[in-house]
Subunit: 387 residues, 2 copies
């Protein structure tokens, strides 16, 4: 998402911090995924940005949803979205939430352990489950395999166990790791999934569905493979590895890649200081207020309004709380004349900014503004009209 | 705080996760500080646990409050606490919040930079300020000096600058680092403060107030100095270093030490699994839901209800979200037969558990229960009566 004149106008005329979102970009992201990956069904990962306007737009486009908890399920049901559009993708579920979900018509459940299958069998008898395969997550910013998923031999055992419990083990899910840079990670995963499907076929269990998970990267600083490139790898791998069975149904659970580039976080400088030969800039967003992913080393492009082309120097950039963890970047290049009141943009910050926030220190985190509903006096246009 | 039978009864009969708090322990902590440090005025650091019942009890005991933001100020004012009981201790303040605070009768402001003094002078003319001295924070779990405070030479310049701006530089604050293990850290700080007071005296500026900050430790796993031991060091240092002036007024800003040992976090096991030769236990509290300090290496004592004396083995303990960061401990000793539904206690978890939480994944963080107002059928007493 570009820092357009309209975005700058909005930034200058609204109290910070906030995230300005462009729903048309979300729509473009959805359309591209549908177009590029043959026959894929999108389950948007609600956790990435649970704002109702984003959910609504995606629902109208035909999206389904990956939900992590009863809280997310209730929010979507209350918006009129039927349970048939939801998949309960968290592998760590409360038993009563499984029962609640099943009673509301949700029929996809994830699992990576015997005990989770037993919980599902008790509370959602006969439900469709997909078993989560662990990938090594190499060359992704947040490999997820340590906490989620299990190895291929264990997945095969779980397929049989699910079947024994009266569940329908329809598929396998995997996640290459959040913000994955290597398009061949998907190929590696699909080869393993094919091996599991083949095993199941020999066991007389019909598996039909591959859940491709998330992991499609968003452009922050480092170069990324395009969606089309990743989709090509997926399409070719399906053709190559699944010729022994009918073409599998494909699910995908994009979160970051659906909303990341559709938002810009807008903050303001509260203080600049020099101490111990270091220069500090403090802003009104921070680790506890929208920028939590920065302590996990996410590097956003940071731009100071009106000073884009000024000479730069190195600063430490920190948030507004009385907490030493609340340091956004130890070293970041900012205009050397950055000062009190300057607007600081974090580009492509539409994911994991509105939902990670706390109320710590009594400080509100960023709120959301949508390009299509903000009316703002354009300083640019006014200047033109005045001239 | 002990895991008493009453706590166990409450744990067994309430939905988790929650923090059970004992206000009498908060009162004991307050009383001990007042008794041990001669003439000290307590400003409770609201950020550690901002629950209104805790604020109310401390206010009734005579406490003042260290506030970090307009949000905290408004909450306390709305409870009927006058601005004269508040100190705006955050060194990174919004200008409009300074003005708001000053108009509400707050007259203590912290600063560690020229620009912050200018903001205070513009919005709270003539206000009393204390300058924050940076300590090295050695032998504390969270040294705060990197982000807050500045060195002694800079503090002296700020004293003069504040005076030139028409402010009243009445004192110096410091913070030895959160959870500080070395009682002599306070002695080191006070020697430096005395040097600043002496400098100010020569400049014709009268400084009267020492803000001892926070940092008094809470017992988690490692042994800690007692409050009495720390108080002795403080009292002796005041006598030793400040004989050139009238006895300074002492402020202290305890947060963790006022509430940490007054709470127990209660969670339940959602899943147990084995994969890649590691054993995992997943609970309904986690990094995003009450246990954020664990990713900063805080080691709580972890107890599984009813299995205190069972043989132990090593587990990885993780939270309930679809996020790989949400791992509480990579290695922790738990009863080898820990399983679904077991209650897991985190001892001395009254600080930074209720206030750090997010709503991430649509999951609610822990709520608060107070020992004095929970009515619960005691399983223990009932068993006795039944027999």
């Amino acid at each position: 998402m570009d820092i357009s004149e309209r975005v700058r106008d909005i930034a200058r005329s609204n109290e910070s911090p906030f995230v300005v979102m462009d729903l048309d970009i979300v729509e473009d992201n959805y359309d591209q995924l549908i177009k590029d990956i043959s026959g894929v069904r999108v389950f948007y990962a609600v956790k990435a940005n649970s704002h109702p306007k984003i959910i609504k737009r995606l629902y109208d486009l035909g999206s389904s949803f990956d939900v992590a908890s009863r809280g997310e399920i209730e929010m979507l049901l209350n918006m009129g979205i039927p349970g048939s559009r939801l998949s309960f993708g968290n592998t760590i579920k409360k038993e009563e939430d499984i029962r609640f979900a099943f009673n509301k018509g949700i029929n996809y459940f994830a699992a990576d352990a015997e005990m989770e299958l037993e919980k599902i069998a008790r509370n959602a008898p006969g439900a469709q489950v997909y078993l989560r395969l662990a990938m090594n997550g190499s060359d992704s910013d947040w490999p997820l395999s340590r906490k989620f998923g299990t190895n291929i031999d264990h997945v095969k055992k779980l397929v049989v166990y699910a079947n024994d419990l009266g569940l329908a083990p329809i598929g396998v899910s995997f996640h290459v790791g959040s913000q994955c840079y290597d398009k061949y990670s998907w190929k590696d995963a699909l080869m393993q999934v094919a091996d599991i499907f083949w095993f199941a076929k020999l066991e007389g269990i019909k598996m039909t569905t591959i859940n491709l998970g998330g992991g499609i990267p968003v452009k922050y600083v480092r170069d990324i493979p395009t969606v089309a490139e990743i989709a090509n790898v997926i399409n070719e791998s399906i053709d190559e590895y699944f010729n022994f069975t009918e073409r599998p149904t494909l699910f995908i659970e994009p979160g970051r890649s659906m909303v990341g580039n559709a938002g810009i976080l807008v903050s303001r400088v509260l203080l600049r200081s020099s101490k111990e030969k270091k220069d500090w800039v403090y802003i009104d967003a921070g680790v506890y207020h929208g920028l939590m992913e920065t302590i996990e080393n996410l590097r956003y492009t940071v731009v100071v309004d009106g000073k884009d082309d000024h000479p730069k120097k190195t600063f430490t950039l920190a948030g507004p709380t009385c907490d030493s963890i609340d340091v956004v970047y130890d070293e970041v290049e900012l205009p050397e004349d950055v000062t009190l009141g300057d607007i600081v943009y974090f580009v492509n910050a539409g994911a994991y900014t509105l939902d990670y926030k706390t109320h710590f220190n009594g400080i509100e985190g960023p709120y959301a503004l949508f390009l299509d509903e903000v009316t703002v006096r354009s300083t640019h246009e006014t200047n033109v009209a005045d001239s």
